[in-house]
């Protein structure tokens, strides 16, 4: 904990509130993600985890609060600056969200069209695509369409796409949901190896206790739109609070 806190924060959310009509989803949620840290957010379905991540990448505007990525407030920034800052963030969507009219190669080339200048020592589009696919072990699938891939393979391609701009922060929205235990474990191992290889900070939303145990440095439980509990996996899983413990029952 202390070693993490000494590191520089790369992402800070303060008192984020978001409502949809009468439905108050986030009621003052805060978090800090440090450099190189894996922060897991757990919460029940509908507790606002995905809304929170979408607020971070600017897909949803929060009603109040502040979101700072690398010391820049994303709520007040213009569209161009936001688009540029987004290249610092990789996002793995729950359903992979691969462009189904494009091949795997085109899916990976897509983010490079506008932002290849941003990559340090850029070796060309082809080389970048190959490197990203190699890191997820799917170089053979380069010319296949997303529909021809299994769920696990799609998730890995989506991960390669999230990595292609060499982001500093990666958001994982339910990375193992809908996958069989073996494939889920492959994805978890891949997430770990990517963090080592690319030295990224990760924000992981998951229901998967095994995933949280393996990957988390720190965890936050999101209940009723607020930070309910915070700590390491061991601290939270051994908590005396019944609601906290309920998350860790298989």
């Amino acid at each position: 904990m202390n070693s993490e806190e000494n590191k520089k924060p790369v992402l800070e959310l303060k008192d984020i509130k978001k409502s949809f009509g009468d439905n108050h989803v986030l009621k003052g949620f805060s978090l800090t993600l440090h450099e190189g840290e894996n922060l897991v957010i757990m919460g029940k379905s509908g507790s606002g985890k995905s809304v929170m991540v979408k607020c971070i990448v600017g897909l949803i505007q929060p009603d109040s609060g502040s979101i700072r990525i690398k010391d820049q407030d994303i709520i007040t920034m213009g569209q161009k600056e936001l688009d540029f800052l987004r290249t610092e963030i990789g996002y793995l969507f729950q359903g992979s969200a691969l462009y189904d009219s494009m091949t795997v190669r085109e899916n990976l080339e897509f983010p490079l069209r506008r932002h290849k200048d941003k990559i340090k020592d850029f070796k060309g589009t082809e080389a970048s695509v190959h490197e990203a696919l190699k890191s997820v072990g799917l170089l053979d699938a380069i010319d296949r369409m997303p529909a021809e891939l299994s769920g696990g393979m799609q998730r890995r391609v989506a991960l390669a796409r999230a990595l292609i701009l060499k982001p500093k922060i990666i958001m994982y929205d339910e990375p193992t949901t809908g996958l069989d235990p073996i494939t889920a474990n492959e994805i978890i191992q891949l997430m770990r190896s990517i963090q080592k290889e690319y030295n990224t900070s990760s924000l992981i939303i998951t229901h998967d206790v095994d995933c949280a145990r393996v990957i988390s440095n720190r965890m936050i439980l999101l209940v009723d739109g607020i930070n309910y509990a915070e700590g390491t996996f061991e601290e939270l899983s051994n908590s005396n609070d019944p609601q906290t413990r309920a998350f860790f029952k298989n």
């Binding site: 897909l59 688009d83 987004r86 963030i89 969200a97 189904d100």
Partner: protein, 260 residues
């Protein structure tokens, strides 16, 4: 009690949708002239929409010409006016029937395709993924598609009109023994600039309407597969209605312009 409320709600949501659509059109024009321009995607869409609608337009146009001539022939014969056939058919097809029928066909073929494609991209978070990767999805998906249909529909209508006239000429040749040369000489004598120009101009508006409704319904698609179906379906229904409204306005304006 519930009826007035539901009527009020429907009226409110109707005007809210008109407002949303106005913003959507405004955003289209704003994004159209701002950099970066998505030329590659525009060309790809032009090719897709033009090329993939070609067969349908040719078949529809040909049958339209055949049927229209076959149906009109007996009536004109009753008055001994068969010789008017080429001019009557060409004016009807070029001024009105060709553009409207081809536009309706394209509303079904292109409009529903756009609605379903963008709608499914919305519900599977592909549009969000595009936005997160730093690409403006409105510019990439919406602007290119609206522009592509606006540019391609006039070409498809011209092709459809030409094929319809060929169909008509074949019937005239087989039934009335009219030579192809004579038929097309009469067609070109009958058609004036004032017939062709307004009819062509209105097809740009037809194309814009098809692209607009397809992209609007798809982009604002509700969650789930039901939403995709509704987006596709309502894109066709609203476009068809809009086409007739545009046609009425176009005919009305043309009439005022040429009677001045």
């Amino acid at each position: 009690m519930s009826k007035p409320n539901s009527f009020l709600d429907r009226t409110k949501s109707f005007f809210a949708e008109i407002g949303d659509m106005t913003f959507f059109v405004g955003r289209f024009f704003r994004e159209l002239f701002s950099k970066p321009f998505e030329f590659r995607e525009l060309l790809r869409q032009c090719y897709n929409m033009g090329n993939r609608s070609l067969f349908l337009v040719i078949v529809t146009g040909f049958i339209l010409g055949l049927v229209f001539t076959l149906q009109s022939r007996p009536t004109l014969m009753q008055f001994g006016a068969e010789s008017w056939m080429p001019s009557m058919i060409s004016l009807s097809i070029v001024r009105e029937i060709g553009p409207v029928i081809i536009a309706l066909i394209c509303a079904g073929r292109i409009g529903s395709g756009i609605g379903a494609e963008i709608g499914s991209m919305r519900v599977t978070e592909q549009i969000d993924a595009m936005e997160v990767s730093g690409t403006n999805p409105f510019k990439y998906l919406v602007v290119t598609r609206i522009l592509a249909v606006t540019l391609m529909l006039p070409l498809l209508v011209i092709l459809g009109d030409a094929v319809a006239l060929v169909g008509s000429a074949i019937v005239e040749n087989l039934k009335g023994g009219v030579s192809y040369t004579l038929y097309f000489n009469q067609v070109f004598d009958a058609l004036k600039f004032s017939d062709v120009f307004p009819a062509t101009v209105k097809t740009f508006f037809f194309g814009f309407a098809i692209g607009l409704m397809g992209t609007y319904k798809g982009y604002n698609c509700a969650k789930g597969t039901v939403g995709v179906g509704e987006a596709s379906n309502s894109a066709v229904v609203y476009t068809s209605m809009l086409l007739f409204i545009i046609d009425f306005i176009a005919v009305f304006v043309t009439d005022i312009f040429y009677t001045l």
